[in-house]
Symmetry: C2
Subunit: 130 residues, 2 copies
DNA sequence: CTAAAACCTCACGTCGGCGTGAGGGGCAAG
DNA sequence: CTTGCCCCTCACGCCGACGTGAGGTTTTAG
């Protein structure tokens, strides 16, 4: 299929697909006239790339991970790389849960101000002069 | 305390603190000569800001949330805002868990290729020519 | 008093993941 | 042939959270 169809099927922009090629994440074949041609499997590939981007990984990192994911490479280094990125994601989840809990606490407080709770330890007197 | 000390205590850069002021997230008092002076509570404040930044919130969003967190504002709108941001974080967590699980699957596969599992549905023949 | 820190205000640089034209080719239908 | 749609390659724009000087003032230690 050509780039427009892949874009339509995956929901990502044509520009983004060209960008993925630039980053060597998804390199299509070319017709004689220079047009890009993608195999059907490219749809799944784009989905994976999107998932990883959504997890906050950079193009470079994804580029490093893809060969492992494709199971074309399976060395101790590649496994370490996979675990490292997994752990980074884990940390990020931890941070997000922390922020969410914080907001949940505020929400609970704003809805039921019955208790004089101080789960948000003291936010007052933010500045002082001289 | 002055900006350098706050920076040291919180681990964020002096530049970042000035930026927070620019964004109206943390506005310190000033001495006659123009130097910033922060109250001790500013340490916690910076921690909160950092937590929210780490959760992927923008300066603008944090600015909107802070009055609610400070419990200075408690309107239906502010509560809706809090919930909306909480839900965004929830979604982000979902995405991250998805990505992590994906990597976990790959890791499991790379370590024990005993099972002919296909949890990563077909990643092959990525491109075709003409 | 003097020198070194620490502070101040501009104001431009960076980086990543694209958006958005500009300007021009390829290909099927009528 | 021509209309029209999809495709191509540059190449600049953008945005947010700061980094990084430049050039000058204030505070502090000796």
């Amino acid at each position: 299929m050509r780039i427009g169809e892949l874009a339509a099927r995956t929901g990502v922009s044509v520009r983004a697909l060209r960008y993925y090629e630039e980053q060597a994440l998804l390199v299509p074949g070319r017709s004689g006239s220079g047009q890009r041609h993608y195999a059907p499997a490219a749809v799944d590939r784009v989905g994976l790339i999107q998932t990883l981007y959504a997890a906050g990984l950079s193009s470079r990192t994804i580029l490093d991970l893809l060969p492992c994911v494709d199971a074309k490479v399976n060395t101790p280094e590649s496994r370490a790389l996979l675990r490292a990125e997994r752990d980074r994601i884990d940390e990020q989840i931890t941070r997000l849960v922390q922020a969410r809990d914080r907001l949940d606490g505020v929400i609970a407080h704003s809805e039921g101000p019955a208790s004089g709770c101080a789960f948000l330890e003291s936010e007052s007197a933010l500045s002082s002069s001289a």
